[in-house]
């Protein structure tokens, strides 16, 4: 009996081995190597590295550029998380109701999500630039009302956020639609018979039942927001004056432009810690809430 158990264990392990092999090689090893490199003075192509303790971390946490990139990322993530959720929820509620051509509209809202962020960014650079200028001159909008979409420090991050929301809202809409369909129609019919208006049904029945989904989408959006890279890279390269330099872009610049590999690794570990803490807190928060409900 023991022999069979052993044999099974080895067989199971052999099943896991291929996955473990790739996982070790391309995830675990680079990850721990990153942790190590972040404690050294690794520099670009130079093969020589020396242990320098936590110096890179102190530098990151006292460097204005890096702290600024964290702040930029937080603002951007907050903006995108809130409004992408609102848009997705709005579209989902529209499509959950008695709307005609549901499939078609669902496709329209979802399609931007299938486009590459790089090319979506270019389309929006065009819209914020040439298209907006043509619009201004066609309707002769007074100068005081004109907006500098990507050139203004305050506006650029919002413009980027709008692009991101446009691209991702459809994805979260699909998740909302799926969980709206799980709400039993009897519940809503009963409420309607009791004389509840449509908005009351949405507010009193649908929204409370959607709370777990809102939590999931919020976690997904926040982690995605902290990892944003393609949009600032393609739209603004981080300008003007670092107003749209996200953490990931900052890491990229430090590692591949300034060539300071060790320092970039330290910055990337800080990003990892931020994301871990946020995810852990959100999960705990969600679980506790779920626990008190039941």
């Amino acid at each position: 009996m023991k022999y069979i158990k052993w044999k099974n264990s080895i067989l199971y392990f052999l099943f896991i081995l291929p996955a473990l092999f790739f996982f070790f090689l391309f995830f675990l090893y680079p990850f721990f190597r990153s942790l190590w490199i972040s404690l050294t003075d690794a520099y670009g192509f130079n093969p020589e590295i020396h242990f320098i303790g936590l110096a890179n971390y102190w530098e990151a946490l006292s460097n204005k550029g890096f702290l600024n990139s964290i702040w930029v990322t937080v603002k951007y993530t907050a903006f995108v998380t809130i409004f992408a959720n609102v848009c997705a929820l709005f579209f989902a509620l529209l499509l959950d109701g008695r709307c005609a051509f549901k499939k078609f509209f669902r496709a329209v809202f979802f399609l931007p999500n299938l486009m590459s962020l790089i090319i979506v960014s270019f389309v929006w650079v065009f819209i914020y630039g040439s298209v907006y200028r043509s619009f201004v001159s066609a309707f002769s909008i007074p100068e005081a009302w004109q907006i500098s979409w990507l050139g203004n420090e305050k506006m650029a991050l919002i413009s980027m956020g709008i692009t991101a929301i446009w691209q991702c809202a459809g994805y979260y809409m699909l998740i909302y639609i799926a969980s709206l369909q799980n709400i039993s129609p009897e519940l809503i019919e009963a409420a309607a018979i009791d004389g509840a208006s449509k908005f009351q049904i949405i507010r009193k029945i649908k929204l409370p039942l959607l709370v777990p989904t809102i939590d999931i989408n919020t976690i997904l959006l926040i982690t995605a927001g902290f990892k944003t890279f393609d949009i600032p890279l393609a739209m603004t390269s981080g300008g003007p004056a670092g107003a749209t330099t996200t953490i990931t872009l900052q890491i990229y610049n430090t590692g591949f432009r300034s060539n300071r590999t060790g320092y970039a690794a330290a910055q990337s570990v800080v990003l990892f810690l931020i994301i871990s803490v946020i995810t852990a807190v959100l999960y705990l928060f969600q679980n506790r809430k779920g626990g008190s409900d039941s």
Binding site: D41, G151, G242, S258, N259
Partner: protein, 447 residues
């Protein structure tokens, strides 16, 4: 539905595998510039007598990587002529303008270093990793002007030559001569004269400076044309002094002047739209006469002239003080090509570089790219504007050093500080102090 799905997967795979076979080809084809492929077995009659011998050689492909978009046609011409002489060599050029530095780094890191490449500001860094072939002692270097070679940013103290300098360029203020004449203005040689010019232009509702700060690299030249005459022309060892702690950004008053002039130019340009306008937009402003001046390198001449070929442009040096003697034009080696240390065909790469140093190739290069040649006995009047530059050269009012020798990691910090200053993020004292720290960290990091 599941069948459909399985079908989709297999199509995806089959389609991909088919492409995989043609893959090697596609990697090279993506560059828009296709070389004129030459059939090695049929050499042109014009080729040299040893063409037959060469034709029997194995075909040799050379991959040329650069970021000089405006030189694409010229390179195509040069390559065609080169391949006539050496029919067994095929040169493929790839032009990358979008973040070429990172792309080159990625190639070097993945052992895909192009045979011949323009390392630009990263040349020394890449060389320090042992990825570039030392050109010192190659006979074709004798064709290069000695001063260019010794001043070149591609030559280090140990006598290694990491790139072949091909041409020289300069940075200064482009100005619209017609506007200046109409308003009875002369090129300013002192800061107060510059203020006067700005004042007159603004009174006449002409934007003094065209700014294209959406491309953040366009900000840096404005400071280089100041620091070169104001600091490096007087202390050419300022970098060493800074590194050893004998000098600093905070203690050098000319750095304050540099940032003041940058702010002045920002304030008296298309300030409101500066960060919405890119390099091409700024060139367009000056070409259409919407702005009277623009601080840029000589390379901007070609795009400006392509928009408005009739424009009467001049080039002048930036005033940096109240002393006209300080107003010197910033001149420097521009385009340089390096050979990869790991190239499979070092001899053929050298042949191509040798070809570039010939006088007729150099003349063609400089007249079409509108730059000064680094090759001996080649001088080209590519444009009326060249006379302005030559006047500075003849009177010795030039300076040659600015950001050469700055530590790599400092460059990005420096560029960031410029836009932060003009947008008022921080006081000048803080910014100069930050530059001091950034310099020290960058020097330490590169050791």
């Amino acid at each position: 539905m599941k069948k459909k799905f399985a079908a989709f997967l297999s199509i995806l795979l089959v389609v991909g595998c088919l492409a995989g076979c043609g893959n090697a080809k596609s990697t090279e084809d993506t560059s828009q510039a296709k070389p004129n492929e030459q059939d090695a077995s049929t050499p042109e009659p014009a080729a040299k007598e040893d063409a037959d011998a060469q034709a029997s050689k194995e075909p040799v492909p050379i991959h040329l990587f650069h970021q000089k978009q405006e030189a694409q046609e010229t390179f195509a011409q040069i390559i065609e002529a080169f391949q006539k002489e050496y029919p067994y060599i095929t040169v493929e050029q790839e032009i990358v303008t979008n973040d070429p530095a990172s792309i080159l780094r990625a190639r070097v890191a993945t052992d895909e270093t192009p045979d011949i490449f323009q390392g630009a500001l990263d040349t020394m860094d890449i060389a320090s990793g042992g990825y570039i072939m030392d050109l010192a002692g190659e006979p074709f270097l004798n064709n290069i002007n000695e001063e260019v070679l010794s001043d070149s940013s591609f030559t280090d103290g140990d006598g290694h030559v990491w790139a072949l300098p091909i041409d020289g360029s300069c940075e200064g203020i482009f100005y619209n001569k017609e506007i200046f004449q109409k308003l009875d203005l002369t090129p300013p040689t002192t800061l107060s004269e510059l203020d006067h010019v700005i004042e007159v232009l603004e009174k006449n509702k002409i934007t003094p400076f065209a700014l294209g700060f959406k491309d953040s690299w366009t900000i840096k030249p404005i400071t280089l044309v100041v620091v070169s005459p104001a600091i490096y022309a007087k202390q050419d060892d300022w970098n060493e002094l800074k590194t050893s702690g004998q000098s600093s950004f905070a203690d050098t008053p000319e750095w304050k002047t540099t940032f003041d002039i940058l702010k002045k130019i920002y304030d008296h340009g298309n300030t409101k739209t500066a960060f919405d306008t890119d390099y091409n937009g700024a060139c367009n402003m000056i070409a259409q006469g919407e702005a009277a001046m623009m601080v840029q390198g000589l390379w901007a001449l070609e795009p400006i002239k392509s928009i408005n070929s009739d424009i009467n442009l001049g080039m002048m040096a930036m005033p940096v003080s109240e002393n006209p003697e300080d107003t010197k034009l910033f001149q420097f080696p521009d385009f340089g090509l390096s050979i990869s240390a790991n190239t499979k065909n070092p001899e053929e790469c050298k042949l191509f570089l040798e070809y570039l140093t010939r006088q007729d190739t150099a003349s063609l290069w400089c007249s079409s790219s509108m730059l000064f040649s680094a090759i001996k006995n080649v001088s080209v009047d590519f444009d009326p504007l060249a006379a302005d530059v030559n006047a500075y050269i003849d009177s010795g009012m030039i300076c040659t050093q600015a950001d050469r020798g700055w530590p790599t990691a400092f460059q990005t910090e420096y560029e960031a500080s410029l836009s932060e200053y003009i947008l008022g993020h921080d006081s000048l004292e803080n910014i100069l102090a930050r530059l001091d720290t950034a310099w020290d960290t960058a020097v330490k990091a590169a050791q």
